[in-house]
């Protein structure tokens, strides 16, 4: 039986990896494994294997391009080494100048969303209308139905996850781990109450 002689053996995943590379370089937002598998007409398990191969090739420090797992999908970004050069040429309109109020509102919506402006206002103690409008404009939050009272509810977008470099919202620190000094607040309030004449 005659066979063509092959001097270099290529991994069977190489073709798939090349296709994924091409898809990722065209995409302007993270692509999920399912999207990649559909486009490449291959099965998810093989796509994940090929992505692992690519992740090795495009890891920080090896190339100007880095493959990252972010916002529920995979995307190429510039390596951190090139950040300074990038910043000379490119603007970052989404996250530029986010105010403290905007960050607090984002936090409320990220943790408790979908939630309405009154929900945000109740927690922050001030009206949230303009802050919410600003976040919608930046694309960090988006409308997500209405509550029983008819108020529009908001949730954070995949862009939020991408900007903050989160694989998913589950990467946010647990709410229970935050506000660790709750006991301290309680103690202070009790002290004030005791000092008041009964």
């Amino acid at each position: 039986m005659e066979r063509p002689l092959r001097l270099i053996t290529t991994s069977p995943l190489d073709d798939l990896a090349r296709t994924l590379e091409a898809l990722l370089v065209v995409a302007s937002q993270p692509l999920s494994v399912e999207e990649l598998a559909d486009a490449a007409e291959d099965d998810s398990a093989r796509v994940e294997e090929a992505l692992e191969l690519l992740a090795g090739r495009y890891e920080e420090g090896r190339s100007g391009i880095v493959l990252e797992h972010v916002a529920g999908g995979y995307a190429f970004r510039a390596s951190r080494d090139a950040a300074t050069a990038c910043s000379r040429l490119f603007e970052r309109p989404v996250e530029r100048g986010l105010s403290q109020a905007a960050l607090e509102t984002l936090a409320v919506i990220a943790y408790l969303g979908p939630c309405s402006r009154p929900d945000v206002a109740r927690i922050r103690g001030v009206a949230a209308d303009s802050v919410v409008a600003g976040l919608v404009e930046r694309g960090l939050i988006a409308e997500s139905g209405r509550d029983e009272g008819g108020a529009i509810r908001y949730r954070v977008t995949p862009l939020f996850e991408r900007v903050f470099g989160l694989e998913s919202l589950s990467e946010l620190p647990r709410l229970d781990d935050l506000g660790g000094n709750a006991e301290e607040i309680r103690g202070r309030l009790e002290a004030i109450a005791e000092r008041r004449p009964a």
Binding site: L106, A110, F164, E190
Partner: protein, 257 residues
């Protein structure tokens, strides 16, 4: 001056102030419909009519209008599930602590996000609208353009010319049968037409019949037929009984008939 008797003329209500409060408390009048500013203006106008300031009246009015405002405020924000004012001090402190705690958590979360943003400052990535192709409803099987060309080529071929050969009827000349019958009658006195033309095509039979008529016209033959559809018998004409044929009739043929 009795504040309770202050006459009001509002959009939603007309009458003394204490009746207004009674109606609101009985929920017969919606606080949201009461313009509190108009009530205050009415009181201030009444106050201005007097020389001396009636402090008692002012105090009473403040209490009443304050109550009205609180009712209105509560009605406008019915969702507030816990009214701090309704709680005893201990519960109120607990509720306040809970809210502060919640806010403190969110503030820390915001701080975490801020740090994260700082840390991600050097992550640059492509941003922009991602016009993903609409999902195809179903995939079309791969096509071969050559097959399409072949099909087109077959369709584009000129069809073979249709033969009209069978359309033209060919008639043997009448004269041919005239001669044939004459020579027959030279050998025999009489003959049977059907017998003579049997086996010939219909067209030739018709031409043969025309030849008969021609011979009859020139008086060369006699034709007998016993009955319609009976055999046609032909006999040589007797000398002297025949009429001479007219000149030029020999040009008769099937087509001109």
């Amino acid at each position: 001056m009795h504040v309770r008797e202050l006459e009001l003329d509002l959009d939603a209500f007309e009458g003394p102030f204490d009746l207004l409060l009674t109606l609101v408390l009985r929920e017969e009048l919606q606080p949201r419909d009461v313009d509190v500013a108009d009530v205050v203006i009415a009181f201030v106008e009444r106050l201005a009519e007097r020389d001396a300031l009636d402090l008692d009246a002012c105090g009473e009015f403040l209490v009443l209008v304050g109550a009205l405002l609180e009712l209105k405020a509560r009605e406008l924000f019915p969702d507030e599930e816990v009214e701090l004012g309704d709680l005893d001090p201990e519960e109120a402190a607990e509720e306040l602590a809970r809210r502060l705690e919640e806010f403190r958590r969110m503030k820390e979360a915001a701080g975490w996000l801020s740090e994260r943003l700082e840390h991600e400052q050097d992550r640059f990535f492509r941003l922009g609208p991602a016009p993903l192709a609409p999902r195809a409803e179903r995939r079309i099987a791969p096509q071969q353009p050559e097959a399409l060309v072949l099909a087109m080529r077959t369709l584009a071929t000129e069809p073979p010319e249709v033969s009209l050969a069978h359309m033209g009827l060919r008639f043997p000349p009448v004269a041919q049968f005239v001669e044939r019958f004459r020579s027959l009658l030279r050998r025999r006195r009489r003959f049977d037409f059907e017998q003579e033309v049997a086996g010939l095509p219909r067209v030739e039979q018709a031409v043969a019949f025309l030849a008969l008529l021609e011979l009859r016209k020139s008086g060369e033959i006699q034709i007998e037929q016993a009955a319609p559809f009976a055999p046609i018998r032909i006999a040589r004409a007797e000398e002297g009984t025949t009429q001479p044929a007219e000149e030029g009739d020999s040009s008769w043929n099937a087509r001109s008939a």
